[in-house]
Amino acid sequence: MARLTRVRRAIALATRHRVGGLYEGVHSSLHAGRSMEFNDLREYVRGDDVAEIDWKASARSGGSLLVKRHVAERRTTVMVAVATGRSLAGMASPTETKLDVAIQVAGAFGSLATQHGDYVGLIWCDGHDIRAARPSTRDVELERMLGHIEAASTADRPEGDLGRLLEVTATTLRRRGIVVLVCDDVDIDADLESRLRRLVVQHEVMVITLADLDPTDPAIADSPVVGLDDQRELLKELRRDPRLREAIEADRTERAARRTTALSRLAISSLHLSGTDGLVPAVLSLVRSHRHAR
């Protein structure tokens, strides 16, 4: 549970003073009414989660198993779709890989959801396949999902296929839910936009993009930087050039602007992360602003 513990600790630190708000955070917007009666029970049928059984009420009722119906119905699914693959093995900052950030952000969403009693599912790219983990409310499963992300993001893996990931996500999650897409610092092209549009119709969609390391960062001027895609070094001599730094910065800014435009056209909340520092507050404020936006 090491990964999840780390995420939980970060959440605890970030939310020490606003625990009350945390639990409304994830999906209160889905459910306008919060005053459902608590004693709305119904008989257990096969397929209901065992955890939902109101044991005391069942004992009182004498024989039949009763489940808390309103809770069961209120539960939503947070589907974390992570474009795992080779590129996550790259660095996001001089000290953290993008995988660290991806795990942290997936863990944060999953943790927030499970703490609220929601289902958390994972869809990820495993080599050339897209795989999905069944949504669950249990921490053990969440931890396992984080393990899947880590295992599928080594440098020897192929690049994740974002288009297919979105396609599979749309077909996998049938009920209305929340889709958190974690992907690279991508440009949103027409194909990707149409796929996202389809998802948006069906679900709440949030996009988390992971920044790449800036190779011209003076802090890493002396350490070698190797491209993951071609295994060739980016020479230090070239990385020192200030004009290259400007060009990279301009390229990044332009891409971010294009992406923001495309995503705001689709009414998708997005977040660009370049490290785990301040990740949880950023996630919380994303969730909150997303709620306000609806």
């Binding site: 001089p94 350490s223 070698p224 930087v225 190797v226 491209g227 895609d229 001599e237 050039d241 990279i248």
Partner: protein, 321 residues
């Protein structure tokens, strides 16, 4: 320039080339060094125009640096091959003694200056020999003994030419035996060779018209016989307008010494004299040539230093850019 150890040079070249190839194909060279930061968006950065520009400049300097290193390697290989500047030092040159013998009798006064001029040119063309200069009429006067001081020779030949203007030269008319005693003059000249060891080649260049005007102690024939005995070559230089009988007579006497007689026209053909002397001498001293080799360090050192300097310059330029 010759290479004394071409195989060493070749070996160095081969080793350097092998090291270069090994370094190029070294398996770890392209792989990332330990602790390298992996970067996912490298292709995007490589696609930037500024990156392409930088990479191009980098490549250019790298090529220059490699070329300079290759030049330096060639220089080192050249040094290892130990080049020498081989020159054939002809030992006979410093072993040549030439006595220039000039008849200053009245009959020769017309051509003396031309003869001295030709002697001057002869002395200038032959270097390393010892040259002596003797004037004779009734008696012989040594202007300078055998010497290899070229400046001294030139100076005295010039002074003698100036002194020849009409008046008699001191010491050439001693005694009452007559004038223009060719045999005595030649015999005197033969006496001027101070070393009589077999290692040296001895030549007399005798300029005369062979017009004897008195009773010499030695006839030309006797003097020539002494020359043959002493192993001296005697060349005759005769004015071109000289009487044929006198010239033929001189030629007949000088041929046995191994020498010959040349005509000196108003436009003296100096090269024929020089050539004749040199050819004769070479024939005499054949087999004495010795090759001398001086280590030639500077071309290799210069190549190596130049290459290294260029390589370090371009390296600094490359790293700094």
């Amino acid at each position: 320039m010759a290479l004394t150890q071409p195989w060493y040079g070749l070996a160095v070249l081969v080793v350097l080339a092998a090291v270069g190839i090994a370094a190029w194909f070294w398996p770890g060279r392209r792989r990332s060094a330990a602790g390298a930061l992996p970067l996912a968006g490298a292709a995007r950065i490589r696609a930037l125009p500024r990156f392409a520009e930088l990479a191009k400049a980098q490549l250019r300097w790298l090529v220059i640096e490699s070329c300079c290193l290759a030049v330096a390697g060639a220089g080192v290989a050249l040094l290892a091959a130990r080049p020498v500047s081989a020159s054939t030092v002809s030992e006979e040159r410093s072993n040549r003694d030439i006595v220039l013998c000039l008849d200053v009798s009245g009959s020769m006064s017309q051509v003396d200056r031309a003869v001295i001029n030709s002697f001057t040119d002869l002395a200038a063309n032959l270097d390393g020999e010892r040259i002596g200069f003797v004037l004779f009429d009734a008696s012989a006067v040594t202007i300078f003994p055998l010497t290899d001081d070229a400046a001294y020779i030139q100076q005295h030949l010039r002074e003698t030419a100036e002194a020849l203007g009409g008046s008699q030269l001191a010491g050439t008319r001693v005694g009452d035996l007559g004038s223009s005693l060719i045999g005595d003059g030649l015999a005197s000249c033969l006496q001027r060779f101070d070393r009589t060891d077999a290692q040296r080649s001895r030549t007399v260049v005798l300029a005369t018209d062979n017009q004897v005007g008195g009773t010499p102690l030695f006839s030309v024939e006797q003097a020539a016989a002494r020359a043959v005995k002493g192993g001296v070559l005697v060349f005759g230089i005769v004015p071109s307008d000289n009487s044929v009988i006198a010239t033929d007579d001189l030629t007949a006497h000088l041929r046995p010494t191994g020498g010959d007689v040349m005509l000196l026209g108003p436009e003296p053909d100096l090269s024929s004299i020089t050539r004749a002397v040199e050819a004769q001498q070479r024939a005499v001293m054949t087999g004495r040539a010795r090759s001398q080799s001086v280590p030639l360090v500077w071309p290799g050192a210069a190549l190596a230093l130049l290459g290294l300097a260029g390589a370090s310059l371009s390296h600094r330029r490359r790293v700094a850019s």
